[in-house]
Amino acid sequence: MIGLAIDSVLALGIVWLALQTVRSVSMLQAVLMFIVFGLLMSLAWARLHAPDLALAEAAIGAGITGALLLVTWRRLQADGHDPVDSELPAQSKWLTIPTACAAALLIVIVGWIALQLPAVPGTAGDLAWQRLGEIGVSNPVTGVLLGFRAYDTLMEMAVLLAAWLGARAVATTYRPGALPGPVHVEVPLVGALLSLVVPISILVAVYLLQAGGSAPGGAFQGGAVLAAGGVLLFLTGRLEAAPRTSGLERVGLILGIAVFSLMGLMVMATGGHMLALPGAWAIYLVETALLLSIALSLVLLFAAAPGLRRMS
């Protein structure tokens, strides 16, 4: 009963925040509403028995996406005004609400029918639970990500790399001061805060990676937390944009894909299936590489720069 009440309040909050995201006149307010929407979504994931998603949504969905949206808003702001929506032509305006309602109704109908269907034994999920022991980890989501559907995870890393390459390709101008506004380098509290928060972000990232084998967590959540530490260093001026991608950064960006592919191919050489990682040690090795690549890609995307260096 209490569970149902919590679900109802969460659902109302999520829908209200989604409405505010599209209805706010101020774009900054819309972005902030979207970030809070992500936080409530992560509570909903926890209620739906998906703690891995709750962590990912909080760290990536609300955290990193929110930071990217805010910094882009700030960069657009550099020349003055908060952009406001212009009026649509009348005929388009009257079609938007019926179209959106029809799409929502379609989802309700499809979902309703799917919920009525009897449970069929032998789904991919059942198989994953049954054969989890062969993978060497006890968290089923990590098992699926790095064991049963490793191709997806490898391609996901390729998408992240492609996103970074794409962002580099379109940002032709190099702006060292890409983040407008004063950087409070000299405020003493900033240094104290960083010396506390950055080590904790590293600790939490390593914990999430290690816990991912048997409890909620994993490379993606850990990578996002590590990236948050990097974003903080960039925002407080400890790191600044560099005009070139250093060799170390290049290695870091492709480390995840390279280690994952090499491990996958090595298994083939010893007679196994491609990407069928041989045991928990291989999963942790690959995840460590993934974590570093994810964190570096996200920080570089945030900085909108080819590379980073220590503030001179």
């Binding site: 990217l68 882009t72 938007t96 449970a119 994953a128 559907r149 998408v159 909108a304």
Partner: protein, 115 residues
């Protein structure tokens, strides 16, 4: 049927609908990106709700797919935001409409001919 599953099904549908409405009613690229992310959130919620997340042993396959989806969403959003910054740099606008795009293409073609 689990009442929680019904609640989250309705939420998923509402969030997707609101996202689609936001995408259609705004020309601001930033708002359109927020709306697309909302639509994605609605679909993720639908997948997990149908994956039996609301009762018993959850199905790890949709969870892994949604986790992948969240990372893909942030990658695509980051790339789109880079495109937005570039578009703003080139056109001075944060909106997309047919006239502005036609102008930008005409400028690019003229530049190419000059070279």
């Amino acid at each position: 049927m689990n009442p929680s599953a019904v609640i989250y099904l309705l939420t998923a549908a509402a969030v997707f609908g609101i996202g689609l409405y936001g995408l259609l009613q705004s020309r601001q690229i930033l708002r359109q990106l927020l709306s697309i992310n909302l639509m994605g959130g609605g679909i993720f919620l639908l997948l997990i709700t149908l994956g039996g997340g609301a009762d018993g042993r959850p199905d790890p396959v949709p969870q892994a797919m949604v986790l992948t989806g969240i990372v893909i969403a942030v990658s695509a959003t980051a790339f789109a935001l880079a495109l937005l910054l570039r578009w703003h740099e080139l056109s001075g606008s944060t909106e997309l409409d047919a006239d502005a795009i036609a102008d930008a293409i005409a400028d690019a073609v003229a530049d190419a001919h000059d070279d």
